[in-house]
């Protein structure tokens, strides 16, 4: 009798880093297209889906805003992922930055003073996001509580804090809609004509990339973060407290994500609507996809962000039988991310089929 057995074995030499993301993108897109084709009973012609993606690809000026925001969030999450601290709380940090920035613009009395308002929005936004992330890091740092559920559940707490503020004290008084007043135009980021991007967002994206690159490669903190991710025992041996590294990594990560929160408010939204848990652009979650697809390399983050922003825009282009872009985009993102999460091990491992004869 002949028996086949699948065995996972280590490769002698790992595959080049760009191979797996590309394969995952192709296979994931194929799976998503097939799933959508069969589930809608053939109503979603694969050609329409691919046209939607190609259309998004051909109009780069429309994806720039998502591209920039996703790059910032991706870079932010990457900083904590490098330390093997899995920050799933991007959404919460994003919204805390929005809360602080909205407070500056609407209620501090400084919202109409140019330069001061945007500067303060950024400073306070980043501080709030950083503190929210710091809070999430404490249970992991001191008690060893897994940070994944903690950061994840804190997203929902953040949503409800936003809901509380906007439903109650911050509600606009003119029409009594469940939203804040519109931010004063002096605090809006300035649009680059012909695109969805703003000047400030462009600058902040470059700053975030350069900051993260410099931090991780040329500073003591960056070194500690990278060592924490590869071998925390080394840190203990040389006398560095791992809890400090966890706290620093998550706080910096939250602050960088906060840049995206402030930019989203000042570039696009200009006010907060609730319920936050359904009005979110979910960049905190899609940013995870960006960070993972980048193989945790900063130079690949913009590429991954570009691919994901194509998918986001394509989802809006494609409307199947009333199922909005939200669902279609999620099928694409889910399939690609799933295939990637599985295939990523094959850059270091391969499957061998062993034939056993008895």
């Amino acid at each position: 009798m002949v028996r086949f057995e699948l065995v996972v074995v280590k490769r002698v030499k790992p595959l080049p880093r760009w191979v797996i993301p590309i394969i995952a993108f192709v296979i994931g897109t194929l799976i998503a297209t097939t799933l959508l084709y069969f589930l809608t009973g053939g109503r979603s012609n694969p050609k329409i889906l691919l046209d939607g993606i190609v259309n998004a690809l051909m109009t780069p000026q429309l994806l720039l805003k998502n591209f920039a925001l996703l790059t910032i969030v991706g870079v932010g999450l990457l900083i904590s992922f490098k330390a093997a601290v899995w920050n799933i709380g991007g959404e919460g940090q994003f919204y805390f930055a929005i809360i602080a920035a909205a407070w500056v613009a609407l209620f501090s009395g400084l919202g109409k003073i140019v330069f001061v308002n945007k500067f303060l929005m950024l400073i306070l936004g980043l501080t709030a996001a950083g503190l929210w992330a710091l809070l999430a890091s404490l249970p992991r740092a001191f008690l060893g509580v897994d940070e994944v559920p903690v950061t994840l559940l804190m997203n929902y707490i953040a949503y409800y804090i936003v809901d509380y503020l906007v439903f109650g004290p911050w509600r606009e008084q003119q029409y009594k809609y469940t939203r804040t007043p519109t931010l004063p135009t002096e605090s809006w980021f300035i649009n680059i004509p012909g695109t969805t991007l703003t000047f400030e967002l462009l600058i902040l994206t470059v700053v975030a990339l350069v900051f993260a690159w410099f931090l991780l490669n040329y500073t003591r903190v960056g070194l500690m973060i990278r060592v924490m991710g590869s071998n925390p025992h080394v840190l203990r041996v040389v006398g560095i407290n791992t809890y400090k590294v966890i706290m620093i990594a998550l706080t910096i990560s939250g602050m960088v994500v906060g840049i995206a929160g402030v930019s989203y408010l000042a570039s696009e939204a200009h006010l907060i609507t609730i319920p936050a848990e359904t009005r979110t652009p979910a960049l905190g979650y899609t940013g995870i996809l960006v960070a993972w697809l980048s193989m945790l390399e900063i130079i690949y983050v913009p590429i991954a962000a570009y691919i994901v922003s194509i998918l986001l825009t394509a989802g809006i282009n494609i409307q199947i039988a009333g199922a909005g872009g939200f669902s279609v985009t999620n099928v694409f993102i889910g399939s690609i991310l799933l295939i990637y999460s599985i295939l990523v091990i094959f850059s270091e491992y391969k499957i061998k089929i062993i034939i056993k004869k008895r």
């Binding site: 996972v8 559920p149 559940l153 509380y164 439903f167 039988a321 669902s327 279609v328």
Partner: protein
């Protein structure tokens, strides 16, 4: 309204939360970190809804479809994270996104059909009836059986061993893959059933995105109870009541959002307490929860 009425009106929700959180507890006891729970829940809700529309409100068929789909996803996830050294969190979250999407794509045509026929689905518990009592008896019986299964039977010991230290368990002759698949079969079946109950006996409406976040509430209920089937009854009742009556809580001077955020706050506090006090022995998460189970093979 007295307390009994408060309980009766929240019963379908409590039942849905309990089934889902119990399923989640059993899956995580076997060492598989289940971040797909919200996606599976939302997909289960959508399947139950569309089946009820297409089959003329056949409740049994709708519930079993939602269970079946949840089981298929659960077995797939469990197989992948046990066979390959992949991140449980990554696979779980990507499945969550995929399920969110599939739920929309599957549910929307049924919703369009419903808007033309005007058919209503599900079954509402009558306030004078005794369905609520049967539900609670079912909850208690299920809780006791699950507790007995996990603590006293061989299967339960195997499931716990796979969660604590799968490599040693394997060395002692436990088939980790098979044990986790059985746990997933039971756990995801319960989750799918919970989602079906939520849709058919509690909300009875559907629109795109319906149920998003409810899976995380069940997740918090499970974590707050330290994945304990009997304690889970208590946390399900508390958070089910709070969620159902979140608008009445305003009368007590508390904002509605506080009631909505409380399960999440409690879950985080519970995790902290269970890790730092003697309760750790019984209620801390399994030691190998979410860790890759992988026996390195030599290159041949």
């Amino acid at each position: 309204m007295d307390f009994l009425h408060l309980i009766i009106s929240a019963t379908p929700l409590i039942l849905a939360y309990y089934l889902t959180s119990l399923g989640h507890s059993i899956v995580e006891k076997s060492g598989v970190l289940n971040l797909a729970i919200d996606g599976v829940f939302v997909l289960g809700v959508s399947i139950a809804f569309s089946q009820a529309i297409y089959t003329g409100n056949n409740l049994l068929l709708s519930l079993s479809s939602s269970m079946l789909v949840a089981i298929v996803i659960g077995l797939f996830m469990t197989y992948i994270v046990t066979k390959f050294p992949v991140s449980h969190g990554a696979v779980g979250l990507s499945l969550m996104f995929l399920c969110y999407g599939l739920a929309g794509v599957i549910g929307v045509p049924a919703r369009i059909l419903q808007s033309t026929t005007g058919e209503s689905i599900g079954y509402a518990f009558s306030p004078e009836g005794v369905e609520w009592l049967y539900s609670f008896i079912a909850i208690v019986v299920l809780g006791i059986i699950s507790h007995f299964m996990i603590e006293k039977t061989k299967l339960g010991a195997m499931i716990r061993a796979c969660g604590e230290d799968p490599l040693s368990a394997e060395a002692l002759g436990v088939n980790v893959m098979m044990t986790r698949l059985i746990a997933a079969l039971i756990g995801f079946g319960l989750m799918g059933l919970g989602a079906g109950v939520f849709e058919l006996y509690y909300s009875r409406i559907w629109r795109e995105g319906h149920g998003v976040g409810q899976g995380w509430i069940a997740f918090s209920i499970s974590l707050s109870s330290g994945r304990h089937p009997i304690l889970g009854i208590l946390t399900s009742i508390i958070f089910g009541l709070l969620y159902e009556h979140r608008f009445s809580i305003v009368a007590l001077g508390l904002p509605r959002e506080f009631a909505e955020a409380l399960p999440f706050i409690t879950a985080i506090l519970a995790m902290v307490i269970y890790m730092s006090t003697p309760l750790k022995r019984k209620l801390a998460p399994p030691k190998s929860l979410g860790k890759p189970f992988f026996k390195e093979e030599r290159t041949i």
